[in-house]
Point group: C2
Chain length 366, copies 2
Amino acid sequence: MSGEDGRHVIVETSELEAFCTAAYRAVGVPEADAELASTSLVEADLRGVYSHGVVRLPIYIERLAANAITPAAAPKVERQTRTTAVLDGDNGLGHVVSARAMEIALDMSAGEECAFVAVNNSNHFGAAAYFAEMAAAKGAIGFAFTIGGINHMTPWGGADAMLGNNPFAVALPTPLGFPIVLDMACSVAARGKIIVAAKDGTPIPGDWAVGPDGVPTTDPVRALQGFVQPIAGPKGYALTLTVGLLSTMLSGGAFGSEVTHMYDDLERPQNIGHLFGVLPISAFREMDEYNAHIEKAARDIKGVPLATGTDEIFLPGEREYRLKLKQRDNGVSITSAVLEELKAMGGNYGLKAPEPIRVEQDASAA
Amino acid sequence: MSGEDGRHVIVETSELEAFCTAAYRAVGVPEADAELASTSLVEADLRGVYSHGVVRLPIYIERLAANAITPAAAPKVERQTRTTAVLDGDNGLGHVVSARAMEIALDMSAGEECAFVAVNNSNHFGAAAYFAEMAAAKGAIGFAFTIGGINHMTPWGGADAMLGNNPFAVALPTPLGFPIVLDMACSVAARGKIIVAAKDGTPIPGDWAVGPDGVPTTDPVRALQGFVQPIAGPKGYALTLTVGLLSTMLSGGAFGSEVTHMYDDLERPQNIGHLFGVLPISAFREMDEYNAHIEKAARDIKGVPLATGTDEIFLPGEREYRLKLKQRDNGVSITSAVLEELKAMGGNYGLKAPEPIRVEQDASAA
């Protein structure tokens, strides 16, 4: 993947969404699904989570064209109780399957019960926050867990990749205009940063990666032959393992040696598993009491004295929300490298990628 | 707290449990509650999680004697739907209140539904794993979240403590004889380790702590004037904040500026909040399919080639399980400093602490 570095350009959000939708349509994705997948993809870019935005569109389209993802999939519930369900994603787009799963959870919950939906036969779903936020928008705490589409990480003390860098998200509704959203994966640094260090010939911090022998290394070349390291050592290993198991063991999704490579293996469906959950506030507490309490909590957090060199304390998800507002109005930032990839991919289907409306040097400013 | 370092002695498990029970009884805790609290406390020591074992007994007894924890509390459900409940802990012992909450969740679940119980007016519950494992023993994935009893950590970029080092646990049943258990808090290093470095006059790693100005420091003395750092920087901040909110916002437990200090404030009840959840395997999948899948997952993880210098790969909770088996048979290891504290505390109530059956130099070997 690219998109970590390089020159950034600004494109119209609506044009980028329309391009994504057209690309999905070109490989046989039905209209409504194409729009949903496009919206959730561009949402990640709007929020500044570029690693899970349109940078991924070319691989999704490639997998759809190869039928490694089924374009016109028909997910179906294969098992259900009053508050639990297993959704067979029918090898559909992860974004579409996951939105459906969260809708089922919200329907079962109906503002009164907790509800969890486990998913199998799905695919890479993009940013976990999107689905957790669907629950927060309905006055519920939302959970989203997924197994990653590539085994990047070793078990702690191991020397072979058997674990994904598995992400999860928790979103809590607030009266602040945006939900508080934790959305994290379990590696210290993205592999893309190690690639950059290798190109630059600079050493990497000792906790970023291990070499092929499983031993930590500061040599980026050796690190690229090895594996990325989990945050906080064995804690991060335990966390990514647990997120992976939650995402697959209830549904029969692929885990460990069953995991295929999203980029290298275009032959087989991935059988990606997810888990979505909903805890409706109103079941536990009057909504106005909850709102007052979490607003006070937010004031407490944002109101502490600032560390030297800090301008403002952000709640998780706050910075992303501000960036989204800004980018929705002014256009969304993507790297020119990503735009080139979109142009090349679009060319295969007679689609014209958006033209930049301007060039930006620093896209990270909220 | 002590117990991080120093000479270890071995005492009979049954004697240690009996002593704890007698101490709880001496300050008015009813028999059944005293036994439950004692079992869950010693369980932490058996598993090698000494920071949450009998090292905490003196403060629990002190708080009970001061009525800062109510000895004969009567927790009651204050709100309930079919699969959710809020339990008012009546300021009882956290261990007792939490076991009750998890029992309510398991009853509501009945092997068919997911169920979550939020708790308020509770107290420090010891090790989170104990309650998550209650669910795993019944064939369900168990979740346990709590807010810590002391604000140790700053919001990311802040220079005052407004967050606990909030722990959580997830336990998954397996056919391996023990559940897979993630049990983690969100700081890089315990404060106890910084105290040791200050005594020794050795610098600490740069990611352990910030000084009173919120800026990272390697000076342990300055670190003790400041705050411990979260794992993985802003990720750990977001994680501990989220665990804290999950533990309090559904129940009305104390958060942020509402949090009192477990050790320094013996006047006020703490109103500690927790959240417990249950996902019964059988609702989602046939138990034998689940068992076969998670057994294969465990084989995948434990079967990868070993990193140079590693003897074996452990599943989360496996090392603790082995140590528990060993210590249950051969006696449990505690530091002589902790034993002295237990003796002093016991002396106040005419209780005799267990005598060591032998001395051990290395208690960490599983």
